[in-house]
């Protein structure tokens, strides 16, 4: 076995075992073909090592990250809501208003990355934008709750002002995240930003309604958890089926 083969086999440990069994030989073959053509069979380049580390880590977390974050997010919402109802606002509110939605946001976008087979600008930018939008919305909501001392449900009097402000934050975040995609679709920059802002602003309304009730938020988390588990099962099934096809071939 050459040094290059040993290098590739060592780096393959970054991937999950099942992936190594199905694709390891093909990936080693690709590296050997490249080394032969380049006339340099000495060692794996730093770029190739970095690419294998990144791809291996992605494969390892591909199905587990959406499930774990959905489960933790749902648990944070349920536990936080129960604590807040019991009067423990200091721990309860940050849990169900901050940690829960952020974890669900991460789960949603990691589910998208899992389907796409990679984290890309189109996945990372909306993920960050939605996390910041959720933070902006929930911070203003929490300030309203604390100011009015209304417990876990803010008064309608507070909502119109802080609601409009936080919806504007969401509008800006969505406009920045979605405008490049709209532009690629042929829309002018001005229209792309306007439509993005309007979509974020109006889209905040159901988010408000959902966040007013912990039960609705917990249900949304439960649905997301079910989706991530189903996706993981389908993903594993496809891979196994693919392996069977190759063996038959």
């Amino acid at each position: 076995m050459t040094t290059l083969e040993q290098d590739v086999e060592r780096m393959l440990r970054w991937y999950p075992r099942r992936w190594r069994q199905q694709h390891g030989d093909a990936l080693i073959g690709l590296h050997m073909d490249r080394a032969e053509e380049a006339g340099d069979a000495a060692k794996l380049s730093p770029e190739d090592q970095a690419a294998m580390r990144a791809a291996g880590l992605f494969e390892r977390t591909r199905h587990t990250l959406p499930i774990i974050t959905a489960a933790l997010g749902t648990a944070a919402i349920v536990v936080g809501y129960i604590l807040a109802l019991g009067g423990n606002n200091a721990i309860g509110n940050p849990l169900w208003l901050f940690a829960g939605p952020l974890l669900l946001s991460l789960s949603l976008w990691s589910l998208r990355a899992s389907h796409d087979g990679r984290w890309s600008v189109q996945t990372v930018v909306p993920a960050l934008a939605s996390a910041f939008a959720a933070l902006a919305l929930l911070t203003t909501m929490n300030i309203a709750i604390l100011r009015d001392g209304t417990g876990i449900i803010p008064s309608v009097g507070s909502l119109w002002a802080v609601g409009a402000l936080s919806a504007a934050f969401i509008g800006i975040a969505v406009a920045v995240a979605a405008a490049p995609s709209f532009q690629r679709g042929g829309m002018s920059k001005d229209w792309a930003l306007t439509v993005g802002f309007a979509a974020g602003f109006v889209g905040a309304i159901p988010l408000y309604l959902g966040l007013l009730a912990g039960i609705v938020a917990a249900t949304a988390g439960g649905v997301l958890l079910w989706l991530t588990i189903r996706s993981a099962r389908q993903g594993s099934g496809t891979t196994l089926f693919g392996a069977e096809q190759r063996e038959l071939a």
Partner: protein
């Protein structure tokens, strides 16, 4: 449906017929005029398999190296055609605008 440059290059390469992974990588690098890490290219091939655009078509062991072959699926051919049409119309529009801008500059 979004198609990355690398995916487009692979689909285009497979439109010419069945190829193995390294052949696809080399052809994609030539089309894109840049070097690609092997693991990145392999991950892109797996994504395209999961999307149903390309299909693994057997393996060969050459000099104790495993070579996996791929073919273009009907869905992949449609995707390639649609993206090629889109790029063609974008390029035509860009040329028209450049010609118009040159014409305006000449008359000014």
């Amino acid at each position: 449906m979004s198609v990355t440059d690398l995916q487009f290059a692979v689909l285009s390469s497979l439109a010419a017929g069945r190829r193995h992974g390294y052949g696809l990588l080399r052809d994609a690098e030539e089309q894109l005029e840049k070097s690609l890490p092997v693991a990145t290219a392999y991950a892109a091939l797996e994504v395209m398999v999961s999307k149903g655009w390309i299909t693994p078509d057997g393996e060969e062991v050459v000099q104790s190296r495993t070579r996996r072959y791929y073919v273009l699926s009907p869905t992949g051919a449609q995707t390639l055609e649609a993206r090629a049409d889109q790029l063609e119309s974008q390029a035509r529009l860009a040329h028209e605008r450049l010609r118009n801008a040159t014409g305006k500059a000449a008359t000014a």
